[in-house]
């Protein structure tokens, strides 16, 4: 089997899992949900890291610099996304929980 077939299978199943999980999220947490998904989208950093690491020795080609910029953008999302989510979630308290 070609790899893209496996990819499509993973993708289709993951859409259903995502749909199921997200429908369970309480509406009160929809804003943290969005900032958490921003952080999770930062996973695209993996692509940037692999690209940088695939470069042969010597001078870095343009592609490595582009990938480094991508890594920077994704890292902002990862750190910013998780941290701001943490900040928000820490505010949600029950009565008498403070």
């Amino acid at each position: 089997m070609e790899p893209w077939v496996v990819n499509v299978a993973i993708f289709v199943l993951a859409v259903f899992v995502g749909d199921h999980v997200i429908r369970g999220v309480t509406p009160a947490l929809h804003t943290p949900l969005m900032s958490l998904t921003n952080a999770l989208s930062g996973i695209i950093i993996v692509g940037a890291l692999l690209e940088i690491a695939s470069v042969e020795g010597g001078d870095l080609p343009l592609s490595a610099w582009l990938a480094a910029l991508a890594a920077l953008a994704a890292a902002i999302n990862i750190f910013g996304g998780f941290l701001v989510t943490q900040r928000m979630l820490a505010m949600y308290k029950k009565r008498g929980e403070r």
Partner: protein, 459 residues
């Protein structure tokens, strides 16, 4: 699976499972903090695995990129105000789109290992969605942070232009796919960037909650597209989950605003026709108005009170004063609840965050479906800075443009207090019958000043 053996694949899968558990944690506020930690661990596993399998990591370059990202991300997350969350989220969507485009471009331009035919179509899709996400999110960010006017910018034939542009993007992409010609890839990215701008310009400020949700979805699909070209399971799974999340949020927002996704995307809502309706609707019907002291008297003597906060409350930064006032009422034996409409803030769940920030306990805050049946047994409803979401016309006037929109049924309470600056119309540009009911008392003034006045005179 190049550059990632079976062990790495399994490690990525483990990271993806942690991501799913992170999202699942948001089912309740009590489990949400642990969820966020699981997400961080999942990210750590994925990045760690990548660095382990990397053949020739350019460590210096990696370290600089990561450190700079950490400093910027941490700084922004610490400083951002909760009212600015929509802007921050839009900016982060833009970064995901940008990263997707840059990675795809890097793979296309790299001097070694030219992409296969199958990879080229994946690169094309990932880069096209990424470019649209990037430029559209930048415009959305500019509109939300008032760097650009929130008014829709429409011109004749724009939908045909967009269609033409989309077809050209497709044409360039297919040509790149078939011929492996980098210039066509670059042209495709440039045109998709332009398309993103044109798609978002005609959409008005009132529809931004839908747009931000939709771009959330796109950013996920872009990440999944890059995952396809790299045969990487965690990118595909995370991208699919984020894509599904944004799609569901868009649907929820559309339903709450009684709009179809298509009508939002075609744009032009909430501009000229809204102003015209205001002028026509400014009837000289009599309203009962009262002072903050009158409102205080009614609230103190009630048994059950429901507060309906709208974005006007956040604009006048009155959440903390409101929380203080509600605590005073509670101490006096009044049962106080908060009722939240899905579009009360500027993005899904925004008002809940703003109340949580003001230390309102989340178990006093209720969603529309949870609380709508309680209004009939409520003595006093106080509406603060909300308008369309309590307009009874949505229920009982089939002629009304918002007929069918789900509302908070404040009109069913025994007494209604509406705190508002003036009789001006809301986003939908409509007159609100609630204001003219016999049981309604209008208190004109800034929400924060009115609440502070009531706190001052409480005893």
């Amino acid at each position: 699976m190049p550059a990632a053996g079976s062990m790495a694949f399994l490690a990525y899968l483990g990271g993806a499972v942690l991501f799913i558990l992170a999202l699942k944690g948001l089912t309740t506020p009590a489990t949400s903090r642990r969820g966020n930690w699981l997400g961080m661990i999942g990210m750590g596993v994925a990045v760690g695995t990548t660095l382990l399998v990397a053949q020739r990591p350019a460590w210096a370059l990696l370290a600089v990129a990561l450190a700079a990202g950490a400093v910027i991300g941490t700084g922004v997350a610490r400083r951002v105000q909760m009212t600015q969350m929509p802007e921050l989220v839009a900016a982060m969507h833009a970064l995901v789109g940008l990263a997707a485009v840059l990675i795809a471009a890097a793979i296309v331009l790299r001097p070694h290992d030219a992409p296969t035919t199958a990879q080229r179509i994946e690169l094309f899709l990932g880069a096209a969605i990424g470019a649209v996400t990037f430029s559209a999110s930048v415009i959305a960010w500019a509109k939300l942070s008032a760097k650009l006017s929130g008014k829709p910018l429409a011109f004749a034939g724009q939908h045909w232009l967009n269609l033409l542009l989309a077809l050209t993007v497709l044409g360039c992409g297919v040509t790149y796919w078939l011929t492996d010609s980098a210039p066509f890839f670059m042209a495709m990215v440039a045109l998709a960037t332009l398309l993103g701008i044109l798609l978002i310009m005609p959409i008005g400020g009132a529809d931004m909650p839908v747009v931000v949700s939709l771009l959330n979805s796109y950013s996920g699909w872009a990440a999944a597209g890059i995952g396809f070209s790299l045969d990487n399971p965690i990118l595909i799974i995370a991208g699919a989950c984020v894509g599904a999340s944004g799609a569901i949020l868009s649907m929820i927002m559309c339903r709450a605003m009684n709009r179809s996704l298509v009508s939002v995307l075609l744009g032009g809502f909430g501009a000229a026709q809204g102003e015209a309706a205001t002028a026509a609707g400014a009837s000289q019907r009599p309203v009962k108005s009262g002072s903050p002291e009158d409102a205080l008297f009614l609230l103190k003597n009630a048994e059950r009170v429901i507060v309906v906060p709208g974005y006007g409350l956040a604009v006048s930064r009155a959440q903390h004063a409101l929380q203080e006032f509600a605590e005073l009422l509670r101490a006096g034996g009044v049962d106080v609840k908060y009722a939240i409409h899905p579009v009360a803030g500027r993005m899904p769940g925004h008002m809940n965050v703003l109340l949580a920030e003001a230390e309102v306990p989340y178990d006093q805050v209720f969603e529309q479906e949870e609380i709508n049946n309680d209004f009939a047994q409520t003595d006093v409803v106080i509406v603060l800075g909300a308008n369309d979401v309590v307009n009874p016309a949505a229920r009982n006037n089939p002629e009304s443009p918002i007929y069918g929109m789900p509302i908070l049924e404040a009109h069913r309470a025994r007494t209604v207090i509406v705190v508002k600056r003036s009789m001006a119309a809301g986003y939908a540009g409509l007159d609100n019958d609630l204001f003219y009911l016999d049981k309604t008392m209008m208190v004109f003034g800034d929400a924060k000043k009115v609440i502070e006045e009531m706190v001052k005179n409480f005893h």
